[in-house]
């Protein structure tokens, strides 16, 4: 009953010592620490930036519709099926087919093997929903077609975001998908995310196009503003080169003009096209267009066949460096909007840690003084248990390399306050039992047994709250739920293994004592 085997005592002690070591390893140099694991500090404690980006998929959808329209036009021409009024209206592709061909065309669009309207076997759905009314075909992106577009643009975007963030060279960035149209970027240690924000805010869609005076350009023309907003120019829609043809881009000083420029190297295809365009277009202006704005539009003086060139445009060294970086990392498939930003400076983080540690120490001290005054020797046992419990809690957080946030520290302090509850329940029960029962050992044992249901129910309710918080909460609040939940388990363990053993040993030695507790 109240006998604790040597094996059990040794095991419990060993486990306790193990966790004390692990908890302590957080305060040592990584080299001489016992294990290489550490609690991660959340962004609110170590300082850093949290950015939530949302992909604006509208342009991608429109692009998709435009491409599909072209594909349909060519496809129908190929099959020699007459059609008319092919157009995009309100995100729908609409066209008319003469009555005799309707069934044929319908079969093309519902062909599971065909390319014209791809079929996703995993979703059992086509890319486009097809609706036929009289002679009119209406194609809308299906639910899964939209999901496909979103996930694929998210996949591309996260890759580009990662490249750009890596190029800036921040410390261990964390880049994650959120839902199917968001990207979370965590940048520890970065207290001014301005540069990264401006880098991520640009799509970096680069095109080389001729400036034209001729309205009858076969590809169409558009008026584009210059980057500095001072003037505009008419530019052909024909794209000579785009960012994909770029192999490398670097900021450079032009020795002759003493100007900062971005020099670039083209791949073979790009070099060929560039050579051809520059040889036929001598004397013309070549507009370098970035995200719909003209960076510069130099006049072509010579054929450039080497595939090397320069972009000038009143750059500072910083802006040239950033442009080169954007060009190297490639264009985003769609614009990104920053919909949530949280930045904490490193000094505030350190202040929070200091305040949290002080609050923890004072809270701990108050609780152990209270417990000792109230219960004397049993209070001492509860306090030893509480201390070991803290080591367990910190040790487990370390083992799992959990992220500690400021609310997480609050969770630890709260655990200190609530952890004694189980011991109090037990002690109070033993006290009651002692009034009825002369035998201390039996009173002690019934005390433990009878308080069990209350302790378990009481802890499960707190655990339920913590679990819900974990799944519904975000960021720092999640850290709170983690320490709270882990704290419940370590509390139960320390109460039933450590406190029970210590009280047991004490009771066995003081069997005859009349005022046990």
């Amino acid at each position: 009953m109240l006998y604790f085997s040597k094996l059990r005592i040794t095991l419990v002690s060993l486990v306790s010592i193990f966790f004390i070591f692990i908890a302590a390893s957080n305060f040592q140099n990584p080299e001489d620490s016992f294990i290489s694991k550490k609690i991660n500090l959340g962004l609110d404690l170590q300082g850093g930036s949290y950015l939530l980006l949302e992909i604006d998929n509208e342009p991608v959808e429109i692009q998709k519709l435009q491409n599909t329209t072209t594909v349909i036009r060519n496809f129908l021409k190929d099959k020699k099926i007459s059609f008319n009024d092919l157009r995009i209206e309100d995100k729908k592709i609409i066209f008319n087919i003469p009555s005799d061909n309707i069934e044929l065309v319908q079969s093309f669009f519902l062909d599971k093997e065909g390319d014209i309207n791809p079929y996703y076997f995993q979703y059992k759905s086509h890319q486009f929903d097809v609706n036929i009314q009289d002679n009119e075909f209406t194609l809308t992106l299906s639910k899964y077609g939209l999901i496909e577009i979103k996930t694929s643009s998210q996949d591309q975007a996260i890759e580009i975001v990662r490249r750009r963030v890596d190029e800036v060279g921040t410390n261990e960035p964390n880049i994650l998908k959120r839902g199917n149209n968001r990207i979370l970027v965590e940048l520890p240690g970065l207290d001014d995310p301005m540069r990264i924000k401006s880098l991520l805010g640009k799509t970096a869609n680069l095109t080389f196009r001729f400036v034209t005076q001729n309205n009858n350009d076969t590809f169409g023309t558009e008026m584009l503003q210059f980057e500095d907003g001072t003037s505009e120019a008419m530019v052909s829609k024909r794209i000579i080169l785009n960012g994909e043809n770029l192999l490398d881009a670097q900021p450079q000083m032009n020795n002759q003009t003493n100007e900062t420029v971005v020099s670039f190297t083209l791949d073979r295809v790009g070099a060929k096209r560039f050579g051809k365009a520059t040889s036929t277009g001598i004397g013309k202006q070549l507009a370098i267009v970035l995200d719909g704005k003209i960076v510069s539009a130099p006049v072509i003086r010579d054929t450039i066949a080497s595939g090397n060139g320069q972009i000038s445009g009143n750059f500072t060294f910083q802006s040239a460096t950033d442009l080169a970086l954007l060009l190297r990392s490639g264009a985003l498939p769609a614009p990104l909007n920053i919909i949530e930003e949280r930045t904490v400076g490193p000094d505030l983080g350190q202040d929070s840690i200091n305040a949290g540690v002080i609050a923890l120490m004072i809270g701990f001290l108050l609780v152990i003084i209270f417990m000792f005054v109230k219960y004397r020797i049993f209070g001492l046992i509860a306090n030893i248990t509480l201390l070991i419990n803290l080591f367990f809690l910190v040790g487990i957080l370390t083992l799992f390399e959990a992220t500690l946030t400021l609310p997480g520290i609050a969770g630890i302090i709260l655990t200190v306050g609530m952890a004694v509850d189980a011991n109090v329940l037990i002690f109070e029960r033993i006290k009651e039992e002692c009034k009825k029962e002369k035998n201390n050992i039996i009173a002690f044992d019934t005390g433990y047994v009878k308080s069990k249901t209350a302790i378990i129910d009481a802890n499960i309710t707190t655990l339920i709250a913590a679990v819900i918080l974990f799944f519904m909460g975000s960021g720092p609040v999640k850290g709170f739920s983690v320490t709270l939940a882990v704290g419940i388990f370590t509390t139960l363990f320390s109460v039933y293994f450590i406190a029970r053993m210590l009280t047991g040993l004490y009771v066995v030695r003081n069997k005859e004592k009349t005022e046990l507790i």
Binding site: M194, I339, T343, F370, M371, A410, A458, M472
Partner: protein, 295 residues
């Protein structure tokens, strides 16, 4: 033994009026939502220039024409908290503010914390906060129903509603800010208050089995008394920990710990004066429990 049951009626009346007052406050005055739930920009600023104060900051922010904003001291003399309601999440919004501030008041500033929450995110956060609280209440209801009888479940959940509504009512009354950490606090209050109620209920159930001849009115009183010292000690240690967070844990945790302190006080009170009278009202008897045992 203290006769808690003598005051059941009195305290029920008091609780009822507090709940009604809180509901009215929530309805007419509403809650002071922070940027987490309303969207907008929050800046924690530290100045190294002693001459800068709330007034001079307000003047410079007025010039920026950012719409409604609010500036207050935050903790110590040189720290300020600025909340701007405008939901401008454009990449350089903060940068513009920094520049404008430097040009009007000099460069002795340190932006210690910046939070910028777009309208979409804030409404999502609010929604998930409400769902979390509702879900936790439902989960508690369900758990107690399984562990006890429906009468207990009802009593516990009414006690929880009481605590949550009065805590929120006080937040409304004093215009304290509701942010993400307050939702965490409310959920923890739900857990704590439940914890307290469960301990007393556990004893009520045990006593119901033991004594068949004592009426529930007396029985709840006995159970409350038997668990009273535990109730007091646990509330005391929890409050010690929370007061320590409130006083020493820094400005950011103030709202959280304050909500928790209120919640623990009301949670302790409601496990005695809400949870138990409900059992009396519902005429819980040994039969209620025996049914459970034979099932």
């Amino acid at each position: 033994m203290i006769n808690f049951n003598k005051f059941y009626k009195l305290f029920n009346l008091i609780s009822l009026s507090l709940v009604v007052a809180s509901v009215l406050l929530l309805f007419f005055k509403g809650l002071n939502f922070g940027v987490d739930f309303k969207g907008g920009t929050l800046i924690e600023l530290r100045s190294n220039d002693k001459n800068i104060n709330v007034t001079s900051l307000r003047q410079s922010f007025n010039k920026m024409k950012l719409g409604d904003f609010n500036i207050k001291k935050f903790g110590n003399e040189n720290d300020f908290l600025i909340k701007i309601e405008k939901k401008d999440t454009s990449a350089n919004a903060i940068e513009v503010i920094k520049k404008d501030l430097t040009s009007s008041l000099g460069s002795s500033f340190n932006f210690r914390r910046v939070e910028n929450v777009g309208p979409k995110v804030s409404s999502e956060l609010l929604k998930s906060g409400i769902i979390a609280i509702a879900l936790s209440l439902a989960a508690m209801l369900f758990y107690i129903w399984i562990r006890f009888e429906w009468q207990f479940s009802l009593g516990a959940i009414l006690a929880l509603f009481h605590d949550v509504i009065i805590t929120l009512g006080l937040f409304s009354l004093f215009s304290l800010e509701i942010n993400l950490s307050i939702v965490a606090a409310v959920l923890t209050i739900v857990g704590y208050s439940m914890n307290d109620t469960v301990v007393i209920y556990d004893r009520v159930r045990e006593n119901l089995r033991k004594f068949s001849d004592i009426k529930i009115y007396e029985l709840t009183n006995i159970s409350i008394n038997e668990t009273l010292s535990r109730t007091i000690i646990t509330s005391a240690t929890t409050l010690l920990a929370l007061v320590s967070i409130y006083l020493f844990g820094g400005e950011i945790l103030k709202g959280f710990s304050l909500a928790m302190i209120m919640g623990v006080v009301f949670g302790t009170y409601s496990s005695i004066y809400i949870a138990n009278p409900i059992l009396v009202k519902l005429r819980v008897s040994q039969k209620t429990i025996l049914k459970e045992d034979t099932e």
